[in-house]
Symmetry: C2
Subunit: 351 residues, 2 copies
C-alpha cells in the first residue's frame, strides 16, 4: 500500500427529496403525488399531473425503495444463488434471468454460495428481507444443511439448471434428451465404444443425463465397460481425474469416444488426455455438454452441445415471479432447441 491521495468529497450531501417535498412544491397532498407518480391512475386533472411531474423532476425525486417495499410488503427483487461464478455454465443462465428481471423492473441480486462443507457453508446474509424469492442453481440442493436453510428463508424458490429436491418448483432442461443427443452424434460418427464422464450423480441433472446416456446406448444396442462410466464433480479437476480413470486401462480396452457432461470437466479431460499422450480426436473423440467461447480456444477446439441456457434462466425467473404473485410452483422440463457446435475434438471412427 502506498501513494494514497485524498479526494474531494463528491457530494455536498443535500438530503434526498422525499415525496412530501414534491407534494409541497406542487401544492398537492402526499397521496396525490404518490398516485400521480405511479401514474396508472385516472381521475386527476392533467394540469395537476403535470404540476406534480414537474415538481418531481425539479427536485430530482427518486422513490425510496425501502419505504415502498415496507408498505407494499414486497421487494421487487429476487436473488440468484450460484455455487461457483467461475463455472461457465452459469453466465448465460444469469443473463436470461437478468433479462426477465429487467422486464419486470425487478432487481437481481447475484450471490455466490460455495457448496457447503457442513456447518461452514456460507449463508448469504441479508437475503432475509431483501428479496421476494430465490433462484437456486446449486449442485447440492439435496444437502440437508442447505435445504433447511433455504426452508428457513420461507421464500418462494425455484430450482434451476442443476436439479431440484423432490417436489420443489423447478425448471430444468430435458437432460435425458441432451445426453442422448451427444450419444447419437457420436454413434453417427461410427463410434460404438463410448464412455460417459458424468457430472455429479448426486445432482438431478447428473442422474438424468446418466439415464439418457444409458437409454441411448441401449437403443443403439451398444455395450459399455464399467470403467467407462466415471462420475466427477463439475470442475476442471474432477474432469481430469475421471479421465485418468476412464483411460487407465490397456489401450485396447479404451473407448473411442467420451461424452462429457460439462465444459469444465471437458477442459480437465483434455488436459489429462494430453498428459497421457492420447490424441484427440485421433485416438478418442471428446464431446461436451455446455457451450462457451472458451471451448473454441482449447486444443483441439471442443465439439459441444449448446443448451438454451438463456431461455432456461428466463423461464425460471418468470415462474418465480408467478409464485411471488401467489401462483403455484411447477416442475417444468424445458424442451428448448439445442445445437451441436462441431469443432475439432470429434472425428469419424476409422478402424
Amino acid at each position: 500500500m502506498s501513494d494514497n491521495e485524498s479526494v474531494k468529497d463528491p457530494s455536498p450531501k443535500r438530503p434526498r427529496a422525499t415525496l412530501r417535498d414534491v407534494a409541497r412544491l406542487a401544492g398537492v397532498d402526499l397521496s396525490t403525488a404518490s398516485r400521480l407518480l405511479r401514474n396508472h391512475v385516472a381521475g386527476y386533472r392533467d394540469e395537476t399531473r403535470e404540476r406534480v411531474q414537474r415538481a418531481a423532476e425539479q427536485l430530482g425525486y427518486r422513490t425510496n425503495a425501502q419505504a415502498r417495499a415496507l408498505r407494499l410488503g414486497r421487494q421487487e427483487a429476487i436473488a440468484m444463488l450460484v455455487p461457483d461464478l467461475d463455472n461457465f455454465g452459469f453466465t448465460q443462465v444469469l443473463r436470461g434471468v437478468q433479462g426477465a428481471c429487467d422486464e419486470r423492473g425487478f432487481t437481481l441480486l447475484i450471490s455466490e454460495v460455495p457448496p457447503g462443507e457442513g456447518e461452514s457453508a456460507r449463508r448469504p446474509p441479508g437475503l432475509e428481507g431483501r428479496v421476494d424469492g430465490v433462484l437456486v442453481a446449486f449442485a447440492t440442493a439435496d444437502d440437508p444443511d442447505v435445504a433447511s436453510w433455504l426452508a428457513g428463508l420461507e421464500l418462494p424458490a425455484v430450482f434451476v439448471q442443476r436439479g431440484a429436491p423432490h417436489a420443489h418448483a423447478s425448471v430444468l432442461l430435458n437432460e435425458e434428451r441432451n445426453a442422448a443427443t451427444v450419444v447419437d452424434y457420436l454413434v453417427g460418427l461410427g463410434h460404438r465404444d463410448i464412455a460417459h464422464l458424468s457430472g455429479s450423480l448426486r445432482t438431478d441433472t447428473g442422474l438424468r443425463r446418466h439415464r439418457g446416456f444409458e437409454e441411448a446406448i441401449a437403443r443403439h444396442d451398444l455395450m459399455i465397460r464399467p470403467q467407462w462410466r466415471a462420475d466427477a464433480e463439475f470442475s476442471i479437476a474432477g474432469g481430469r481425474e475421471a479421465t485418468f480413470r476412464i483411460m487407465g486401462v490397456s489401450p485396447d480396452k479404451r473407448p473411442t469416444a467420451i461424452a462429457i457432461d460439462s465444459l469444465v470437466e471437458a477442459i480437465g479431460a483434455l488436459s489429462a488426455l494430453r498428459e497421457m499422450g492420447v490424441s484427440v480426436p485421433g485416438d478418442v473423440s471428446v464431446m461436451a455438454i455446455d457451450e462457451h467461447l472458451v471451448a473454441a480456444q482449447m486444443t483441439p477446439p471442443l465439439t459441444t452441445l449448446r443448451l438454451p441456457q438463456q431461455e432456461l434462466g428466463r423461464r425460471a425467473a418468470e415462474m418465480l415471479f408467478a409464485m411471488i404473485d401467489g401462483g403455484p410452483g411447477e416442475r417444468v422440463i424445458l424442451d428448448g432447441p439445442t445445437e451441436i457446435i462441431e469443432r475439432e475434438s470429434t472425428a469419424p471412427l476409422v478402424r
Copy 2:
C-alpha cells in the same frame, strides 16, 4: 415446453412474526424487544433479555430488513458492477469483496452491466434505494453516459481494478510495476524484441500498463517497432485480432515475445498464433497478466502474472464502507504481492 407438473404449495403462508409479536409473547414493550435483540444494550435484567430471546426464537422472528433500512436510513448493502461476468479477471475480486461484506454483515449485490452503447446501456434498476454504495469495475467509466448515471445515483462509489475517472475514489493495482514485471521476466529469458498487446488504452489500467511497459523497455535499452504495440478490447476476440496485427509482418520483423495485458486476450492470441502456424513458445513466447485455472489448460499452458485480486476487492470494499460512514474517498495504489506462474508458453530465446 412439456411435461409440466404442479407441486404442492410449499408454505401455509403464516405471516412472518414481527417485533410486536415477539414483544407481546415476551410480555414486554416493543422498544425493549428491539433493544434486547440488537443486544449491545446494558441496563436490562438478564431474565428479561432471556425471555425476549426465547420468544424470538419460538416465533422464528427475523428482523425485516426494509423496515430497519427505512428507519436507519441505510441499507447495509453495497453493489458491485462488473461489465462482464465471463471475464476471468473479476471472480477473484468479487470474492475479496464478498469476504469483506460478510465480515461487516453487508449484503453484496452483484450486477452485470454490459458496457453501454450510448443510450442503450443497461442501468441496473433498483440500485436506487437498495444499496449504500457502489463498487465499479467498468472498463468504460469514462463513458460520460455511465458517469452521469453514476453521479445521478448520488451514492459513494469506489472504482476498482479497471481504472477510475479523475478525482474519484479508487483502489487500483500498481499496474506500471505489473507491466514492468512481465517485461523483466521476458528480458530475463533473453528476449529483446517484445511486443505489447495492451488492454484498452481507454482505461486507466490499460494506460498505466502501457506506461510501465514503455518504461521497462527503455530501462532495458530495447527498441520496439510500432507494429508491436497493439491495443485491443479486454476480450478473446480482441486478443485474436490484435495478434494478427502484431504478427502480420514478415517473419524476420516479428517479435520473439508478446506481453499481454489480460488472460482473455491471451486466449485469443493463442488461437490466432495457432492459426498462423506460429509455434509457442518455439517462435514466440507469450505471457499474460491475470491468473485463472483455465490458463493451465491452454495449449501450451500459459505463463501468467497472478495479481492480488482478492485483496484488491477487499480493500475496495473497506474503503467503500469507510465512505459510507462519512469518511473521505481516496485514490490508493495497492502494491500487494504478485507472482509469476511459470508454465509453458514462455521459453528462453535461442538464436
